[in-house]
């Protein structure tokens, strides 16, 4: 993007104000502020939110951290709820009940539990109907709010409280659901996968595109959780960089059906580099578990090749 200036962007007024109760170093909060910075000044927004860490920590009666209008409904229906809000906007506009100048954007946030799992149907419905909204998943790969239970976004072999590593268990058995691709197959105008890079340009560009592309858009944002992944809070940027350099979390967008890689590592790093930093994978590095890491690598490679194919590479 021409004229991208992080310093300038960081001086914009915050739309998620400080004082909320999210954990120090929480990836979701960093990501959400980055998404909201892509809203143009003067544009109003209604923010939706599935039940989860973000909701219980940012809107505790009688306080709210949200500068924009905000609605939390339940765990599984952020897509449907914002469908209603966005439709109300069109109805009120049509009937002249809103001033011409009132321009609203609609963004909803959900964790991976509320998005990949329990909210999947509601999300799919909202995307298929083509509401002019952005659904942002902050994917931290487990039900963190209730205490680190596995979701369909949890990577294989992760140690979670419902897939605990034990004498006869190596953590989660299944590999993760590829939700970004599933939503792309809804043929909505814009889908992207992103995370935090040093200059935050990727997440900013994709957020702006998602918000300002007419129709339904889906943004899947890898948002590390220091409690669930068990890494030092200060290491978050390193973790994100390793996620994309190992191709565990490829950076791509699907813009009106056009699949495009937005980042390709100069040198694709082995998956161990990503796994080693996190306590939830510690058991993989015990002697005798080499084949588990090999299996993980094989799955990452297979999906990466598949993505390259989709991107016509």
């Amino acid at each position: 993007m021409a004229g991208y200036n992080l310093k300038e962007l960081m001086s914009k007024p915050e739309r998620l104000s400080p004082g909320h109760r999210m954990c120090a170093g929480c990836g979701a909060t960093i990501g959400i502020r980055a998404v909201l910075r892509a809203l143009h000044e003067g544009d109003m927004a209604v923010i939706g939110n599935a039940t989860g860490c973000l909701e219980v920590s940012s809107f505790m009666y009688p306080y709210t951290a949200w500068e924009d209008s905000y609605i939390h409904n339940a765990f599984e229906n952020a897509g449907a709820t914002l469908s209603g809000v966005e439709t109300a906007y069109r109805a009120l506009q049509k009937r002249g009940r809103l001033p011409e100048s009132a321009k609203f954007k609609f963004i909803t946030f959900g964790g991976d539990g509320g998005t990949y799992d329990i909210g999947f149907q509601s999300l799919s419905g909202a995307m298929e109907r083509g509401h002019d909204m952005v659904y942002v998943c902050y994917d931290n790969g487990a039900y963190m709010n209730t205490g680190i239970q596995r979701s369909s976004a949890t990577p294989q072999f992760a140690d979670t409280t419902t897939t605990p590593v034990g004498k006869v268990s190596n953590g989660k058995v299944q590999t993760r659901k590829d939700l970004s691709a599933i939503i792309a197959e809804h043929h909505v105008p814009y889908v992207a996968q992103t995370t935090f890079t040093k200059d935050f340009r990727d997440i900013h560009t994709k957020s702006e595109k998602a918000i300002y592309t007419e129709g339904a858009a889906f943004l899947n944002m890898l948002a590390p959780c220091p409690r669930g992944w068990r890494y030092e809070t200060s290491e978050i940027m390193k973790i994100c960089q390793l996620a994309i350099d190992t191709c565990y979390w490829p950076m791509f967008e699907v813009d009106h059906g056009n699949w495009r890689l937005t980042y390709e590592p100069k040198k694709k790093l082995p998956i161990e580099d990503f796994l080693r930093e996190q306590g939830r994978f510690a058991h993989l590095f015990k002697p005798g578990n080499e084949e588990l890491i090999a299996a993980f690598q094989e799955e990452v490679d297979r999906r990466w090749e598949d993505l390259l194919y989709r991107c016509n590479r």
Binding site: T64, Y70, A74, A80, L82, G84, V85, A88, A102, S122
Partner: protein, 397 residues
């Protein structure tokens, strides 16, 4: 000017929806309410109304989207039946606790299992403690009239609660009967415009909806919700009076049919009230003082008013088109008996279960019940509480 026509209950409600022309209506098909969104879609397709219709992918989403639209500042409603209402259950609570004045056209149908598409009240009775106002109709006319009154009740600042307008599946929803329809302009004037105080799309005045609240605050929220339900009674009566003076028909909390000097009263809701009235008429001809109390408003529950209406009779049959699976009576019976007790009206009261899953309720059955009431009241006959009527006999099985 009222206009005479013939339509089914579903047609009548769809006609009222067209007249009200709400801002947003999400809906999902389910028998027997499916016709309502179908007819609304047709009205929209023909340019006869311009409500934004959202063809959602489930009932859970229809209520979720209705909640979102209403919170955003749009007059919103949906329609459903049976399992659809059960699937919405969590959202019913969210709608009421967020004090959203939306409206649900419910076409009563039994719940699974066995899966069955016919009428009883297990769906709405299952939702009786979700914080919704519930109004029941005996026929298509009342379904139409109640729907028109629903928005003014829900949106009154003293209330701010959602309203469920109930009619009996198939019996009312699909049977074509005579009806008086009102002019569009009269209906629109009666319903009025919607101007919410706080809403998501209020430019420059953002609002946050649906908080997490700790124990220090939650209990007061629930208390206030109950206060609104209590206040809604006077509003329901005011709106009913306004409707009556405008259109010359309708009832308040309930209809008292030949109860003034009645010895035996059948207390009932919905379409079977018509059958009961026929039985009462026939018995009156034979000199038996039979009457019917047809409950229109189940939530808020008019406990004192019911007790007062029953205090002069010798015995009452409380008719539940729903099982409560509590081992001692239907939900309506439980509440009526508690109301009688707290008002110190100590008359014989018997809980009857009838018409489950569309089982016919006949004039003969109603007459048998009156006979049983007289045996109890006049001859001291002991009869079983929580009695089923209309069951197959052992031989018939």
């Amino acid at each position: 000017m009222s206009r005479k026509d013939r339509m089914s209950g579903n047609e009548a409600v769809a006609y009222a929806i067209r007249q009200v022309n709400p801002d947003v209506m999400p809906a999902f098909p389910i028998t027997p309410s499916t016709e309502i969104p179908q007819m609304v879609s047709t009205y929209i397709a023909n340019g006869e109304m311009d409500t934004e219709f959202i063809p959602v992918e489930s009932e859970h989403s229809s209520m979720s989207a209705t909640v979102g639209a209403e919170a955003a500042g749009a007059r919103s409603m949906t329609a459903t039946s049976s399992c659809g209402l059960a699937f919405m259950w969590e959202e019913l609570l969210v709608a009421a606790s967020n004090r959203l004045p939306l409206v649900l056209a419910l076409v009563n149908r039994t719940l699974s299992g066995p899966i069955n598409i016919n009428c009883d009240h297990s769906d709405s009775m299952g939702a009786r403690d979700t914080g919704w106002i519930q109004i029941y109709a005996e026929n298509n006319q009342e379904a139409y009239d109640n729907f028109i009154q629903a928005f003014p009740i829900a949106e009154d600042p003293r209330v701010h609660l959602p309203v469920m307008v109930c009619q009996d599946g198939f019996i009312t929803s699909h049977a074509v009967e005579n009806i008086l329809l009102e002019e569009d302009a009269d209906v629109r004037e009666f319903v009025g415009e919607y101007h919410p105080e706080e809403f998501l799309l209020n430019p420059g005045k953002p609002v946050a909806v649906g908080p997490y609240a700790v124990s220090d605050y939650s209990m007061e929220a629930k208390f206030n919700q109950e206060q609104a339900m209590i206040r809604s009674k006077e509003v329901i009566l005011e709106i009913a009076e306004k409707f009556r003076s405008r259109f010359n028909r309708g009832f308040g909390l309930f209809e008292e049919y030949r109860t003034e000097d009645a010895d035996y009263i059948l207390l009932i809701m919905g379409s079977a009230a018509g059958t009961s009235k026929q039985a009462a008429d026939e018995l009156r001809e034979a000199g038996i003082k039979a009457g019917v109390l047809k409950l229109r408003v189940f939530r808020p529950f008019p406990a004192e008013e019911i007790a007062n209406a029953l205090k002069g009779c010798k015995a009452v049959a409380i008719m539940d088109r729903c099982e409560s699976y509590n081992g001692h009576g239907g939900p309506l019976a439980s509440e009526v008996m508690a109301a009688l007790y707290t008002s110190k009206v100590y008359i014989p009261a018997i809980s009857y279960i009838y018409g489950l899953a569309g089982r016919d309720f006949t004039v003969e059955t109603a007459k048998d019940i009156y006979k049983e009431l007289s045996d109890v009241a006049d001859k001291g006959k002991q009869i079983k509480q929580h009695t089923y009527v209309g069951l197959r006999t052992r031989e018939e099985r």
